[in-house]
């Protein structure tokens, strides 16, 4: 079990999103020509696994940002964020490496905010993996 296993488990689940737009990960640059909407994913490890149960337990959260054009109704971003949150309900369990990953909170869309000509809305899904 490592961070790659966790990213893969959550990423595969995210890719089941119906009509998913382009998805960019932590280590990918978004091309300036990328059309809106698209998603940006950031994996955020929490407590150091070495400090929990001899390094076997990983906690953290995945943040997905829905990036859409500003100046239009926020409907698309809101609906997409809600659909993403619905993919990661409380106590959802996914296979992860040789173990399993469990969603530990009721995933809900977070606030939206303006970033230049973009409108961004975030979703954070908390997990524990062991």
């Amino acid at each position: 079990m490592n961070e790659n296993d966790i990213a893969q488990a959550l990423g595969q689940r995210l890719q089941t999103l119906t009509d998913a737009p382009a998805i960019y990960w932590d280590n990918q640059n978004v091309p300036e020509t990328q059309a809106r909407p698209y998603l940006v994913v950031q994996m955020v490890p929490g407590q150091s696994p070495a400090r929990i149960s001899g390094g076997r337990v990983h906690t953290g959260f995945m943040q997905v940002t829905v990036v859409s054009d500003v100046g239009q109704f926020a409907t698309y971003a809101n609906e997409t964020a809600a659909n993403i949150a619905a993919l990661f309900p409380y106590e959802l369990t996914l296979p992860c490496g040789a173990g399993k990953l469990t969603i530990t909170s009721d995933t809900q869309p977070g606030p939206g905010f303006r970033d230049g000509s973009d409108w961004r809305k975030i979703v954070q899904a908390d997990y524990v993996a062991l």
């Binding site: 955020v44 929490g46 943040q63 905010f113 970033d115």
Partner: protein
């Protein structure tokens, strides 16, 4: 306290004195805020992203921490937490306009998550402080 039922956890806490509970709560809260206020050199100053730490370039962000709506400062929390009593509600907020985008990230810049990462450590901090008073 992983693996213990909620009832078992309550029974554990019943054995603690009010003074101990106050110690656990105030220290765990301080652990969270000190985590949020742990600085790292901002990218515009040659630093690199350190998730869970607060980026410091011009120090506007780290100095904008307001405790219970009071005057913002980097150490605004210390006096307030020292007066904490069981049952009190404390709020911590960053008043700098760019605080939220530094937290969650925006175009081309990943989030630092100095609030989210440390707030989520609160249960672990409580457990660690509770172990201290049980020794």
């Amino acid at each position: 306290m992983a693996g213990k039922s909620f009832t078992a956890q309550l029974e554990d806490f019943e054995r603690l004195t009010v003074q101990n509970l106050k110690y656990i709560a105030s220290e765990a809260i301080q652990d969270v805020v000190e985590g949020m206020q742990t600085p790292a050199r901002g990218i515009s100053k040659g630093g690199s992203l350190q998730v869970g730490k607060i980026p410091v370039a011009e120090a506007e962000l780290i100095n904008s921490l307001s405790t219970d709506g009071g005057t913002p400062s980097a150490d605004s929390y210390s006096v307030a937490i020292s007066g904490f009593e069981i049952g009190d509600v404390m709020t911590f907020s960053y008043t700098a306009p760019h605080a939220f985008v530094k937290e969650v990230g925006k175009g081309g810049m990943a989030g630092w998550h100095f609030m989210g990462v440390n707030a989520r450590k609160f249960p672990a901090f409580v457990e660690a402080r509770a172990k201290e008073v049980r020794r």
